[in-house]
């Protein structure tokens, strides 16, 4: 009970500056703060440090600082840049259609339609599934012989026998479709939440003034959901660029590296070939490039918002 006497009572009216962190606050924070420091912040800094070393798995000689050597090697590693390009293609190819599809679904779910509850329940399913199961499920759909996709195409007279996940022309597209499917719920839920915050009166007033559906969307709905839309699409882009399990299960990066996302590349480098330092350097490059792209995206979008 020393805690209760040693600490201040809550003050009236939330102070804008706030009281300095008192001992009670520290006592409440430490149980979470220590694991965060030891298992998240620490490893992150350690990981960045590793990228400047020649750390390898199972080596007896001491690890040496090698300066920027890993990054110089990386700059000439065409396989890595191929993988990086595929990663960007995948991230954009998933994030953009996913956003548009989710926006459409959210707008529909925001209407007074029957069976809306069913759609909501179904829309959530991909979110709850383990990524490995999503991968297995779509392998069954894409399966050249026993899969439902080829069978349906054959029924429609569009030919068949395509090997979606192992064909060099179709593999990336096939995994992108799975990526879109798997991320629909988060995006839809976030956008729906944004839509439900849109002032209804404003909508009705605009309709009364004779504004058409598209104009109402542009002038009332979009400004209201824009912050949510920006946040979720930025997050989706990051998550997609860093994703691993889905594609690992679907194709293992094949055929011939056509779907080898940067994370798969780095994983193999680290845990198949044991090149810890080099793989850590890849991670650093991924973070750096993503940060730059996102900074441009967010600054551009926010500025666009000021002028319109």
């Amino acid at each position: 009970m020393t805690l209760s006497t040693a600490t201040k009572r809550p003050r009236k009216g939330a102070p804008s500056q706030g009281p300095p962190a008192d001992y009670g606050a520290w006592f409440l924070v430490l149980p979470a703060l220590i694991p965060i420091l030891v298992l998240s912040v620490g490893p992150l800094l350690y990981g960045i440090a590793l990228s400047f070393t020649d750390a390898q798995s199972g080596r007896t000689a001491a690890t040496q600082w090698v300066g920027l050597l890993n990054f110089q090697d990386l700059a000439h590693d065409t396989l890595f840049w191929d993988s990086f390009r595929i990663g960007l293609l995948w991230a954009v190819g998933v994030t953009v259609p996913q956003f548009l599809l989710a926006l459409g679904l959210a707008l529909l779910l925001n209407q007074d339609l029957r069976f809306r509850w069913l759609a909501r329940a179904l829309a959530i399913i991909p979110w709850a599934m383990p990524e490995v199961v999503v991968g297995i499920m779509w392998r069954l759909v894409y399966h050249p012989d026993a899969g439902v996709l080829n069978e349906t195409l054959a029924d429609l007279g569009l030919g068949g026998g395509r090997d979606w996940l192992t064909g060099t022309a179709t593999a990336l597209l096939a995994v992108i479709v799975v990526g879109i499917w798997a991320g629909m719920p988060q995006t839809t839920v976030a956008l729906l939440a944004g839509l439900q915050n849109t002032p209804r009166e404003l909508h009705e007033a605009a309709a009364m003034d004779g504004a058409g559906a598209w104009r109402r969307f542009r002038t009332v709905t979009w400004p209201a959901i824009k912050p949510v839309a920006l946040a979720i699409s930025a997050l989706n882009f990051i998550w997609n660029f860093n994703s691993f399990a889905l594609v690992y299960v679907l194709t293992q990066g094949g055929p011939g590296g056509r779907t080898r996302l940067p994370m798969l590349f780095a994983y193999e480098e680290a845990f198949r070939y044991g090149q810890f330092g080099y793989a850590a350097a890849m991670g650093c490059v991924m973070v750096a490039v993503i940060s730059v792209i996102l900074a441009f995206y967010l600054v551009g979008r926010l500025r666009g918002g000021d002028t319109s």
Binding site: M1, L3, T5, T7, R9, P10, K12, S16, G18, P19, A21, A25, L28, V29, P31, A32, L33, P35, L39, S40, P43, Y46, G47, I48, L50, A55, L101, G104, L108, F115, L122, A123, I124, I125, A128, M129, P130, V133, G135, I136, M137, L140, H143, D145, A146, W181, V189, A193, A231, I238, F244, A245, Y267, A270, F271, F276, A279, M282, G283, V287
Partner: protein, 277 residues
């Protein structure tokens, strides 16, 4: 506002298209899980198994250590969820009620931790855990999952704490209750539903996780369900698709059930965390 008939019809059509797109892979998974080997090998697979069977489930348990994997997954997910909530709730309270540098730094970490590729975390974690002989150990994986679940847990809990009016705590303070007393008997009961939802979400996150488990667990008797499921894949002939689908279907059920229970709270929590005061 009234909507014209053709527009309504188009809306229902679009909704139907979404439903088909979202549901058909899952329906196909279930269908495959109940098909006998002969039907799986047939040239024209059907949506509904003609002779549904449970044989695939039996075979799945015979071929892979699914029971052990389920037990491992349960231990890991339950422990991680419990620990994550126990340590996240007090921190979320401080983040919601105090506007100091600590709270800001914690919020910053929650956001930044979303952006880092796991590869940058997993290599150091692997080396650290190896030092403590926690590779191929469920305890090591639990620790990783706790920290991994924290950002979203904090995000949700901060929202729930903000929904508890500070006036209630102030009133209790005026009545002479100490701070710990206030937390335990005023704030905690109001937070309970949110805490339960957060724990369930942390459970699902851990239950579904694949990457860390793949790297940190080496032997089949330690591996969790997703890793064991992944061992099924790759070399399968058409006849093995049935057991694969059956095992995948079983592994999904806990997540689906829990998600159905907390669906409303999750969506509410995402929103609550995002609302600024």
């Amino acid at each position: 506002m009234r909507t014209s008939r053709p527009v309504r019809a188009a809306q229902y059509l679009a909704l139907l298209a979404y439903l088909v797109f979202l549901a058909f892979p899952f329906v196909w998974l279930i269908s495959t899980a109940f098909k006998p080997a002969a039907e799986l090998g047939s040239l024209h697979p059907t949506w509904i198994p003609e002779n549904p069977t449970l044989e695939n489930f039996r075979q799945a348990f015979d071929e892979q250590p699914l029971l052990q994997a389920t037990a491992n997954s349960l231990i890991v997910a339950l422990s991680a969820a419990l620990v994550a909530v126990v340590i996240a709730t007090p921190m979320a309270y401080v983040m919601a009620r105090h506007r100091n540098r600590l709270a800001k730094a914690a919020t910053g970490w929650v956001v930044i931790s979303q952006a880092f590729p796991f590869v940058l975390i997993i290599i150091p974690l692997f080396l650290i855990l190896k030092n403590f002989h926690l590779i191929n150990s469920l305890a090591g994986l639990i620790m990783v999952y706790v920290v991994w679940a924290l950002p979203f847990a904090l995000w949700m809990l901060v929202g729930y704490v903000r929904a508890v009016p500070p006036e209630l705590e102030e009133a209790a303070a005026v009545d002479g209750a100490g701070r710990l007393r206030i937390l335990v008997s005023v704030t905690a009961p109001l937070l309970a539903p949110g805490i339960v939802a957060t724990a369930m979400f942390a459970f699902i996150t851990a239950w579904n996780e694949f990457f860390f488990a793949l790297v940190l667990l080496k032997t089949p008797e330690k591996q969790t369900l997703p890793v064991i499921l992944n061992r099924f894949i790759g070399t399968e002939g058409v006849a093995d698709l049935g057991p694969l689908a059956a095992a995948a279907f079983l592994a999904t059920i806990p997540s689906l059930v829990i998600f159905a229970l907390i669906q409303k709270r999750i969506t509410g929590g995402m929103l609550a965390g995002a609302v600024k005061h």
